[in-house]
Symmetry: C2
Amino acid sequence: VAGLRRADAEALDAADPLAAFRERFVDADEDARYLDGNSLGRLPVATRARLREAVEAWGEQLVGGWEAWIDAPTRIGNELAEGVLGAGPGEVLVGDSTTVNLYKLCAAVLDAEGPRRLVTDRGNFPTDRYVLEGLAAARGLELRLVERPEDLGSALDAPALAVLSHVAYRSGALADLPGLSALARERGARVVWDLSHSAGAVPVDLRAAGAELAVGCTYKYLNGGPGAPAFLYVARELQAALRSPIWGWFAQADQFRMERDYEPVDGIGRFGAGTPPILALAAVQEGVRITAQAGMAAIRAKSVALTELIVALHDAWLAPLGFALGSPREPERRGSHVAVRHPEAWSICRALIERAKVVPDFRGPDSIRLGVAPLYTRFTDVWDALDRLRALVERGEHRLVAPGASRVT
Amino acid sequence: VAGLRRADAEALDAADPLAAFRERFVDADEDARYLDGNSLGRLPVATRARLREAVEAWGEQLVGGWEAWIDAPTRIGNELAEGVLGAGPGEVLVGDSTTVNLYKLCAAVLDAEGPRRLVTDRGNFPTDRYVLEGLAAARGLELRLVERPEDLGSALDAPALAVLSHVAYRSGALADLPGLSALARERGARVVWDLSHSAGAVPVDLRAAGAELAVGCTYKYLNGGPGAPAFLYVARELQAALRSPIWGWFAQADQFRMERDYEPVDGIGRFGAGTPPILALAAVQEGVRITAQAGMAAIRAKSVALTELIVALHDAWLAPLGFALGSPREPERRGSHVAVRHPEAWSICRALIERAKVVPDFRGPDSIRLGVAPLYTRFTDVWDALDRLRALVERGEHRLVAPGASRVT
């Protein structure tokens, strides 16, 4: 870790090999310090033109546009697979929401392989838990909650289907994807990985890790826009054995011969359902491309350096003010955000947004998440944000905000 | 029906109370005659600016934008309910695809009410049949195919869940929504209506018709763009008894108190799942608004007049060339497209697109669909399209196109 003066942060920015990428994103308020790209990523400048083109293609080509559009979910899936996820061609499909995709893959495993114990960790993202709760209720299955992903082994005394997040949404803890995948395989369990908080921020290397199934979102580190279509991954070897529970016409072989019974296409397309959202997919493609151009190795290196700076500034400035680190201290066990905990976290978070133009987010009961997106977060952004945070708490300004409840993701 | 000269069509255009709406849609090729708005609607001019605004809101407000975005699925659902579907506030939700929404509602009924016979008509849209095939396979239920929606009664000798299209995608036949809803209620059956080919083209009046459940798409007559988010409708009285099979965080009560078990919100929001697609929803809202401004009564009146003109021109010009009408002759039994049948329909359709700048679409085995969208289709468009069709077949030009298969919706 470098020194803790602003000049040290400026030096890191000056030496940043990804510095030029920052200009490829819209920054509407240069005085703001946005540390919530882990919730909603910034708008890439190129996405403006890309969406204009997609809209005009609709206007000009009308139904004829489908010749080019129809493969978009697999075509963009391939770019995501190769440039970001370490998956092979034909293993990733873009479309639907993370929730729907998670449901599809979990139900597909249960339909193909029979009843299994459902497993997740208590701190997993709500929608992941809810999907499993719903499947457990509908099918009379046990849902076992372990404390942390690394406790998975304790739940594998019966055939299991686990849903684990690669990066934990609250703490930023990075799970051992290859190790837990190997453990699951050895014990005959299936794991669906949720990559929402790692895709585009942490190298995933799905194939190298031996991961079989995954889902994830594109509106965080992949900068696809609010509520952008999600993705799913099914390892090639598993595809033929699985079927989506939602039988839809965009998964049908020879789709436009409409008279036949359902027979899903070979390959990843069989996990599609309805008509794909073409405008939204154009924005996803742009976000994926900019990420792939930067390269996951460079992104990870900068991400680690940025979160190390947060940890160092926390230790120096925040710990004396009553904060505690809510994320792993070892960078190899951390994703691209750092949680700092404080009993007054909610009001501190509100005050940061309202009074200091610093945008983190709050996660109950007591965490402030500080997310860094290496494509556009500067070291000086981190330094300034924590400097403003320290000053705000020192002055007690967080006690001036109106009470209320955070409602925003 | 007026006379069959082009001057008669021009007179109808001159007297058209909806004529001004045409200018509110992009027409990139004034020489083309687009009769496929029943597959993909045109781009509203205002949608360009609307999408630009939505993109800039993302860029400027970043995560803070969610304060305004979070209610979009219900807010736009309310506009659609009031202006287009004849449903009440809090009965329509926009999001996901038609396929996913149909799956959600069918599974919700089966989960709440136990096993039922599944029923649809043999000619229903593929994805509707596939969803039911999938549910039948997963739950060991009988899937009964009746010949036509009006044969529903023959399948009601056991408790049933039927999926019926309000307007049949191939023939354009308009089902008796109030009558079949009443019959189903009387016999203890549930019907999920697919409004994809009627929403925005035919008055639906869900509440007046006593319909309980419905889904539909927004990229046809509602002009929401290719693959735009779909909608679902659940009558208020039924909502509390039903749960989506896909338990997701956007259906959760007090969503951002993330530690709790799943407990769906009261009301239509409980049928949501993942994060809603904000950019795509902005385009849907614009399409819904323009439709609501025109009013469904005026849209229906013009639609009937347009399809009557197609029928009259078919009888005068096409029947002598070997065509047969593939749609009901009585306008009250017809939606907003007319199918004309011919043994060489596929090559005629290709030739129309490639050589005559007329865009209908082909539906196997032998139908050419001619769709009219009253917001932008002129009587002269219909006249010109059928004139070019007649001339093309008279000259045998359809025999000059390369063989192949249509692949586009």
